[in-house]
């Protein structure tokens, strides 16, 4: 009898253990999922026009939440207190035989007044952008006063090597998910009203790829007149 009872007990234990064992094998890929997603970060430059006068003010605003969709609108990443390693290059378009980046720096042709976050010059063309993070949003609000006539360009960049973020709603079954941040670019004025013609007419730089390929629109060109 005791033997039978033991057999029954053993059978029951087996029946209880079976699903647990099954669970331990069935839900895990035992693998790491590597993701590298692209992001675009919005910038608004106002007022939007091509010609300004000396003394006019351009307003640069950046505002986006810490949780954003990737470029393909497939996944959401959480960027918590994140360093986008952002730059602003300011150049005067003076030489039609050179690319934009080879044009002379023009930081001295503008006066920057920072309100939220900071645009901080470090060379004749280079400025570091420090976004303000308030726990839920990234912000920059700066005014740029135009001091001298000329044709100018603003170009915004992020760092080449951005650290990981966190994937919202990760798929189940992976031991580890690496939410890599791939190519990430600024888009000025939703890619519209950025006066590309001033850039292409005054430098050798071209903009002839379709938007489906060249989705980054990190530039704004304008003319300052007396």
């Amino acid at each position: 009898m005791a033997t039978n009872k033991n057999k029954i007990r053993a059978g029951l234990i087996t029946q209880l253990l079976f699903p647990l064992i099954l669970a331990s094998f069935s839900c895990t890929h035992n693998e790491t999922l590597y993701l590298s997603k692209e992001f675009s970060l919005p910038i608004e430059i106002t007022p939007t026009k091509e010609d300004y006068k000396v003394g006019d003010t351009l307003k640069i605003d950046i505002l986006f939440p810490k949780i954003i969709f990737d470029r393909g609108n497939n996944v959401q990443y959480l960027f918590e207190n994140y360093d986008f390693d952002a730059f602003l290059g300011i150049r005067e378009l003076k030489d039609k035989s050179k690319t934009l980046v080879d044009q002379p720096g023009a930081n001295d042709k503008f006066k920057i007044i920072n309100k939220i976050g900071e645009i901080s010059p470090f060379s004749q063309s280079g400025n570091k952008i420090f976004l303000s993070f308030n726990g839920t949003e990234y912000k920059l609000s700066s005014n740029i006063i135009l001091l001298e006539p000329g044709i100018y360009n603003f170009i915004f960049s992020t760092g080449l090597s951005l650290s990981n973020a966190e994937l919202i709603n990760p798929p189940s079954g992976y031991e580890k998910i690496i939410a890599g941040v791939g190519p990430t670019y600024f888009i000025v004025n939703r890619g519209i009203d950025i006066n590309i013609n001033l850039l292409t007419n005054n430098t050798t730089t071209t903009f002839d790829l379709p938007d489906s390929i060249d989705w980054a629109k990190p530039v704004f060109s304008f003319q300052v007149i007396e």
Partner: protein, 638 residues
């Protein structure tokens, strides 16, 4: 009891269900999940072994058969007992390397090696084949053809599987070149009219053409002979339609296509320039290098399916990889990709673009990284020429690895003579690579000393983006260029410093001046050439990268000692060429008259500190902007 059983059943059901039902379903697509997991090792699966129709014995039997047939048909031929005059054209050889020394020696012969037998069907076309007969950790055999009169001198055990007779079965005007030639460095394709390889052209062995001519002189119909060879060897499905017109329709005169690599930073497919393309069916082996626009075209007639593959070598420059998913022997072979097996109609356009793969421990990632590394090393030489920087050496051993080695470097170990430094350099590169992989990697690296290394896994764990790889390889090519200027003694001390200090040390370390001067040059070339490269593309993404790379050079505040390696003046050389800086950097930069070539000249072997660099520069350039140069260098703390 029953309720317990029911509970158990329900629990099982719930647990199984729990694996498929999520409260917050992920928005990832299946494709994204598959790509993110990486690819498997991509091993080739072989099918049925075929009776080799090209053995000299089979060809002789076929010729005897044909001679009898012609006699019965009263067809005139110019020989009797024709088969006795046939001599083999090639030996079909199987090399069996027993250790990594032998394997690397075999690779250095530049034989046209294949890691699978040439007389076996391919069931699944993968990138590599591993012979199960050598065990999981053994070295797979390699197969090749060697011209019959050519001695095999490499010290690797081998079997001559058979003596074979190759000729052009085609009766048309395409004369296939011999599938084997003694390769000269930098001349992997001696039939390429653009290649500068007169020596190889001169010594090209034309056994196949001679055999073809011989058959024609005998009056033998080559297509007839081919079909009899196939019939006698039991390969009836290979028999060609004897009507010339139809045979031509079902053959191809060229194998052609375009090879590209995806630049995921700008979302553009860029041509892969100068890589080796190999094609084969049976023993009909061909190869060519891609042109500047990634195109290749090989004149060859394949009447049935042929295999096409890409190899990151041109005979002198080779890119090899160390990868967690590979067999160890794969480390010694230049990175390759088998594009596939294609029908004759497809062969006229076999194009491929290497895609980005975010999993650094994948075959696809290594191949993709090799693609960008290949292009960038070539382009660095071109940009040197554009800027008047003299650099001619382009024979490089380049190693790329996922996350298991040290960062990128340009140890140029092949140029060094001090054995202990070479060994220490390898140990430094492989620091942290433990277990069998570390032992094997060192054995292989000792035989194939690295000039340039790249670790392409990000610190965050994913595969780096193209822009990171491009900037890093330009940086390392800056060092390779510098190496040719300063010579072995300088470089030995350079490597010794890094090995003994476990890196760059600090500003006060004895000998740090050499590091400051040389690493600043690497950073300068990385940023400058990277910016030039992306500046040549159209569009916003490329502009953003070009801007970022150049601003990174300018964004150095040497006074900020909290930044690691703050004392390496990575912005100095750029500041010598650009216009002024604002006061916030604490650098007074009123120098703009120098060029990259002028700066390079002053990085000679006797320049071991930033101060010596300044003195040399001013002396060579007649004190050009002397006061301003002194101010600038002072701003960098020297």
């Amino acid at each position: 009891m029953k309720s317990l059983r029911n509970y158990s059943f329900i629990l099982t059901f719930l647990l199984i269900s729990a694996c498929t039902i999520e409260d917050s379903p992920s928005l990832l697509t299946t494709e994204e999940e598959i790509t993110g997991q990486g690819d498997p090792e991509s091993l080739m699966v072989l099918g049925e072994k075929k009776e080799n129709p090209f053995t000299i014995e089979n060809v002789r039997s076929a010729l005897d058969f044909l001679e009898n047939k012609y006699q019965k048909e009263n067809r005139r031929i110019n020989c009797s007992n024709c088969s006795t005059s046939l001599t083999p054209t090639h030996r079909y050889v199987k090399f069996r390397p027993q250790n990594y020394d032998q394997l690397t020696a075999l690779d250095l012969t530049n034989y046209d090696l294949w890691d699978y037998p040439l007389d076996v069907d391919v069931q699944y076309v993968g990138d590599y084949y591993h012979d199960s007969g050598v065990g999981q950790d053994g070295i797979t055999p390699f197969y090749t053809l060697v011209p019959y009169q050519y001695p095999i001198t490499v010290n690797v055990p081998y079997d001559v599987i058979s003596d074979i007779y190759l000729y052009n079965e085609d009766d048309g005007d395409i004369q296939d070149a011999d599938p084997w030639d003694p390769t000269y460095p930098g001349c992997v394709d001696p039939t390429d009219i653009e290649a500068d390889c007169p020596a190889a052209k001169k010594t090209l062995i034309n056994n196949t053409l001679e055999a073809t001519k011989n058959l024609d002189e005998m009056g033998i119909d080559r297509l007839d002979l081919y079909n009899v060879m196939m019939e006698l060897s039991g390969n009836k499905d290979e028999i060609l339609d004897p009507t010339e017109e139809k045979a031509r329709i079902y053959s191809t005169n060229t194998v052609a296509g375009t090879i590209k690599v995806k630049d995921n930073s700008i979302n553009v497919d860029v041509p892969l320039k100068g890589v080796l393309i190999k094609t084969r069916r049976w023993f009909k082996l061909r190869r060519a290098l891609t042109s500047f626009n990634g195109q290749y075209s090989i004149s060859v007639n394949y009447r049935k399916k042929a295999i096409v593959s890409v190899h990151f070598t041109d005979g002198s420059k080779k890119i090899r990889g160390i990868n967690n998913v590979w067999k160890f022997w794969q480390f010694a072979i230049p990175v390759k990709k088998t594009i596939g097996e294609f029908s004759t109609s497809q062969l006229q356009n076999v194009s491929y673009t290497f895609p980005y793969n975010s999993n650094p421990n994948s075959n696809a990632a290594t191949q993709w990284v090799a693609g960008h590394t290949w292009n960038t090393t070539r382009d660095a030489v071109y940009k040197n020429g554009q800027l008047g920087i003299n650099y001619s050496a382009d024979a490089l051993n380049i190693w790329v690895s996922s996350r298991i080695t040290q960062n990128a470097s340009a140890p140029m170990l092949r140029t060094l003579f001090t054995t202990s430094i070479i060994s220490s350099g390898l140990d430094f590169y492989l620091a942290g690579v433990s277990g069998p992989i570390g032992v094997v990697a060192k054995q292989i690296l000792q035989n194939l000393l690295p000039d340039i290394t790249l670790r392409y896994g990000n610190s965050s764990g994913t595969t780096q983006s193209t822009s990171q790889i491009v900037e890093t390889i330009y940086h390392e090519m800056g060092h390779a260029t510098h190496n040719t200027l300063v010579g072995n003694s300088y470089w030995t001390d350079y490597i010794y410093y890094i090995v003994t200090n476990g890196g760059y040390g600090n500003k006060n370390t004895s000998g740090s001046g050499r590091i400051a001067v040389a690493e600043a040059w690497g950073a300068y070339i990385g940023g400058l050439y990277g910016s030039m490269y992306y500046g040549s593309f159209s569009g916003g993404a490329a502009l953003s990268l070009s801007n970022s790379m150049v601003l990174n050079l300018e964004n150095q505040k040497p006074s900020n000692t909290s930044i690691s390696n703050y004392w390496i003046p990575r912005g100095l050389y750029y500041d010598l060429t650009d216009t002024s800086e604002p006061s916030s950097t604490a650098i007074v930069d009123n120098v703009n008259a120098y060029t990259p070539a002028m700066i390079f000249q002053s990085l000679s072997s006797n320049v071991l500190t930033v101060g010596q660099f300044k003195t040399d520069l001013l002396a060579r350039q007649n004190n050009l902007q002397s006061t301003q140069v002194t101010q600038l260098v002072q701003g960098y703390g020297y």
